[in-house]
Symmetry: C2
Subunit: 412 residues, 2 copies
């Protein structure tokens, strides 16, 4: 029966392009959470939801949910419409407009028993805090965290941003998992795998876990001209030596899809003629397999201990944050795969997501699944981010097909 | 005849301690160039020069010279009384007060034919520019450079700092080398060599050359979760790999006294979830031997070329600045060594200076020599910097002895 859920490719692309006019920046968008352009985009999205005969609700943290209160079988489908600073036009907007398009297709169909409720989660991009909206919706965001959060770019307190956006005093909604068959999210891949392998759709098997480490090296500040090499306690040199070992060892023991990144190295005092007494390094490791993360963690701890014993500097290791890998629901993966194969035969693959997504939050309370469309050249979080129109249309058709299979129970 | 030049240890220590009250900070001083406390210290020093029957002149760049216009045999002796930010009480102040003490001893002696002219050079520490005062005095500081220089800490233009210090419009003096037998400078060692080897005096054989390199690594900014390791252009990882090689190779080919320092590593954009597209590294190399500096330079260029050919990042190498090693005058070294041995038999050694000093500037126009006293624990540019009173007194006695040998011609 899924064949009867037909999307309108022109409307889909036209709505996507219209959404991209809010906060347009070069060939992308600058639509940070709670900015005027973000709130205008949300208002526009609520109008589109009304066109799909839904009852949109904007809650106290900026989430929008297009409710179909009378449906008996519901899917929650969405992503986020806000963006990183000066970023691409698709990213989360794609998944929100896909959900909207499918809701419009259902509205045209006129079956009051089934519904796709489009959802637009606030601040997946962590301007204020990671997965702000989706965590709120599953009851994992406290008032205390809201009190403490500030914008990473401007320092504006979250409370003040909510007030400026007109959200102060609004209730925050909580998703009732028993009302939904599951949660589906479409997103650009952000990596280059699909693009490089000439594939058109990726069914996400799991979302990687992310471990964020802080390495600190404490030595002794001294004169770079008069202090002999033999007695130096050079925190920067200690950091370079250990980072080199980490890169070498991780290359040997990582899994095929593991990624690790040293995004930041800071030396104190950072002056050319002074031996640094402090080096701080941020090291991030991602993998979809807990066992791989544990193996790398254990190797890292061994290397830190060995280096610390051999070095004249004190070396410290702290886990700054950790999210666990999150598997996507097997039945939803199957539904996505079947309809993806139908939309683009032989050009579909299952793959982990290297980036975090709201689906990993929803997966904690209900079955969740994700579909990727290709990112040209793997570019994301940059205004050069793009996806071919035909791949966008294929993605929405595949997502609509999966919704139909789940809503009407046809899982052939 | 040098025995008749007797310094007064109590006056010496008392004047040193009094100078340390200007800008006192914890157990050290904060007396940056042209600060009110620096100018007050200079006024105090000029009064002390008058006590030695000299005619002090404060010039348009902040140098003070205590002139003895009627002497027939003159030595220029001094250092700098200003300090690094929040630094030690001795550093250059020691050499200025030594010069003052010797001038006071000569005044007591009452020989009008000979003079030590104490000199206090401005901004050896490069708040505005390296060796500002001494370069001015040998004609190597242009008005254009003064126009362009700013305080490294506050950004204040040098012109404005000079005006605030009341120096605007004053002429800058130029040293006439033909008027002097040479230039002598005493300084704390700043390293730990004398202290660690229980020596009391170091006769400087040469001042190291310093080559300051900037290494740049250009890669591609990308998402730290979705970009496979195999296609990354990670500028930070490229920097770590090359710096590791440089440390290893330099350890193998450096000379005994060579030092090299990576004082700064900067990754762009420096965020935990973004692969850095730029790494900038400051690498400094010091040695007293030109051939050693050339050997390391050549090895560095080879390593950069090899790494650049093998890496997915572009690697650049620039020489930011270079000073050549500067030998001290053989006759002045001999005079210093003879009197140092007399002051502290068997506890004197010849050694290179790992730090730069005004003596390397003066050496370009006249014979120059330097004497080191021990730094306890090798600490300098920190308020913990210190030297034992008896080593301070020995140092001044040795310097006075060398002055006597040179002024009265007794070089036994």
């Amino acid at each position: 029966m899924q064949t009867k859920l037909e999307i309108d490719p022109d409307r889909l692309l036209s709505n996507l392009r219209c959404l991209a006019t809010f906060g347009a920046h070069l060939t992308g968008v600058h639509r940070p959470t709670f900015s005027p352009q973000d709130m205008a985009a949300r208002a526009w999205l609520m109008d589109r939801m009304r066109e799909a005969r839904l009852e949109p609700e904007l809650d106290g943290i900026g989430n929008i949910l297009g409710r179909a209160p009378h449906a008996r079988r519901r899917l929650l489908v969405g992503s986020h419409s806000d963006s990183q600073n000066h970023a691409g036009w698709l990213d989360g907007a794609l998944g929100v407009v896909f959900a909207l398009e499918i809701a419009l297709a259902i509205a045209k169909l006129g079956d009051p028993d089934v519904a796709v409720e489009p959802v637009d989660w606030a601040d997946e991009e962590a301007h204020f805090a990671s997965f702000l909206g989706s965590r709120s919706a599953i009851g994992e965001l406290s008032e205390a965290e809201i009190d403490q959060s500030r914008c990473a770019t401007t320092g504006t307190p979250l409370r003040q941003a909510l007030a400026s956006a007109g959200l102060e005093g609004r209730p925050r909604f909580r998703i009732d998992p028993s009302c939904y068959l599951g949660y589906l999210e479409a997103h650009i891949e952000q990596g280059d795998y699909l693009d490089a392998h000439d594939l058109s759709l990726g069914v996400v098997s799991s979302i990687v876990g992310i471990v964020q480490y802080r390495l600190s090296f404490r030595g002794q500040r001294n004169h770079a001209g008069t202090t002999r090499m033999a007695i130096r306690k050079d925190a920067g040199a200690a950091a370079v030596a250990l980072l080199h070992r980490i890169h070498e060892r991780f290359r040997a023991i990582a899994a095929e899809r593991t990624v690790w990144t040293v995004g930041s190295i800071r030396l104190e005092p950072g002056q050319v003629s002074i031996i640094p007494d402090l080096a701080e390094v941020m090291l991030q490791v991602r993998d979809a397999d807990d066992a791989v993360l544990a193996r790398l963690d254990s190797a890292l701890r061994d290397m830190v201990a060995e280096a610390g014993a051999a070095s004249r500097c004190e070396i410290g290791l702290q886990v700054e944050s950790r999210t666990n890998p999150q598997s996507m629901d097997a039945r939803l993966q199957k539904a996505l795969e079947l309809s993806a194969e139908q939309a683009s035969p032989g050009r579909v693959m299952r793959m982990p997501s290297g980036a975090g997504h709201d689906a990993q939050i929803l997966a904690q309370v209900m079955p969740a699944g994700m579909l990727f469309v290709p990112s040209i050249g793997g570019i994301s979080h940059h205004w050069d981010e793009n996806t071919r129109d035909e791949d966008i249309v294929l993605g929405c058709q595949a997502l609509a097909g999966a919704c139909a299979r789940l809503l009407w129970g046809d899982m052939r």
